[in-house]
Symmetry: C2
Amino acid sequence: MNVLWLLAHPDHRSLTHSLAREGVRHLRDHGHDVTVRDLYAMKWNPVVDADDFSHDPTDRLLVGAVAKHAYRRGKLSADIRAEQELVLASDVLVVQFPLWWHGMPAILKGWFDRVFVNGFAFGVKDPVTGATLRYGDGGLRGRRALVVTTVGAREAAFGPRGIHGELEQVLFPIQHGIFHYTGMEPLPALAVYDADHATEDDYRAAVSRLRQRLATLAETSPVPFRTQAGGDYDDDLVLRPHVAPGVTGLAAHYA
Amino acid sequence: MNVLWLLAHPDHRSLTHSLAREGVRHLRDHGHDVTVRDLYAMKWNPVVDADDFSHDPTDRLLVGAVAKHAYRRGKLSADIRAEQELVLASDVLVVQFPLWWHGMPAILKGWFDRVFVNGFAFGVKDPVTGATLRYGDGGLRGRRALVVTTVGAREAAFGPRGIHGELEQVLFPIQHGIFHYTGMEPLPALAVYDADHATEDDYRAAVSRLRQRLATLAETSPVPFRTQAGGDYDDDLVLRPHVAPGVTGLAAHYA
């Protein structure tokens, strides 16, 4: 497989980078092609602005429409186009980061803000029906995505009733809102907890868990989100009454 | 009141900026002091790195510990210290942004990554008991926070059973994971939907809703998250069995 590995930590001596090196080696040893995007080393610019779109600064910057226009005409900036080529060439995205403020570090969030533009990742229409493809289908269908995250907190605090919120639901904006939305299959996230106090034994255990997840990338069942094409949602994109009756909030979108 | 208004959109002619101007004017007309941080105009750097901490680059960058050390010794970079002063001087944070990939634009996420460091916003201990203060208490107690967000989707799709997930739960990593965690009171978010197609009438309606929310900043009930001090969580930070018995996921943390 072709694996695109996104990495966002400022120190190459960190637990994050050490795990990345082990993971990349494991994949290559098993015959996969891996491209690593070390966003800090690349000095990736995470800030969307008019320069991304060759946009006339005297015109209003309606980001979604302007991005789609630039994408279709090949006018996106070169750094964005290079990342899009890598995404299209990939079968799997590994997205690895320390969990900062319950989400991605800004440098990584801005990779999605800038690369996953309208017309490329979303806002794609079915050529026959004209329907907008999303949630289970879309511009990036056919790919899988795996979050690997290092977390300062202990595991129980991100468990089903832990104070920080159950990790999979805290990651819903990424797993469902980015990956599933664009047609990718989100795999259950791999979290390494209590990351600031990892011993040698903890590190070996984390490497072992990572290798196991990488060895099963192709066959792991994705997070079972409902799909738009599956018929669970009506024309207003609301769950039909007979689907998970009475359930509201994020829990309703897991089949 | 002292209001700190964070703003993150690249175009000053956008709906986001137009609403911000109306909101700031309204607050000032009612006698409040408002400081606007227009992160794009400031060219805010959203990327955490060693330069933030006057950190010796030959030492490992353990971000949490290094940040806390730098904070305590007054060694954080000047741009971070300036924002922290503004936070401390504020009674209310208004955090306004277009919803990009179900979260904050990177430039704004990186404001929290860099400004809300260990020892300042979290990792603060009770001087008597030594317990770490979080979720309802912490470094920023006594402040309120209001998200104002412009959203491309229509309202139903972010409703209780909408396909994108109920907005308050999609915003959980911000409302609960940042504001509530640091002791601030998160107010229900104000969302302006279908923002790419706003008519003059839609705009007037949005301004009216914004003014109404700003006029009631002091008395609006916050999102009713459970607090750590309230005794609902055990020493492992897990909900006690008698609290919301059987409920898992984010829904369990609303009282």
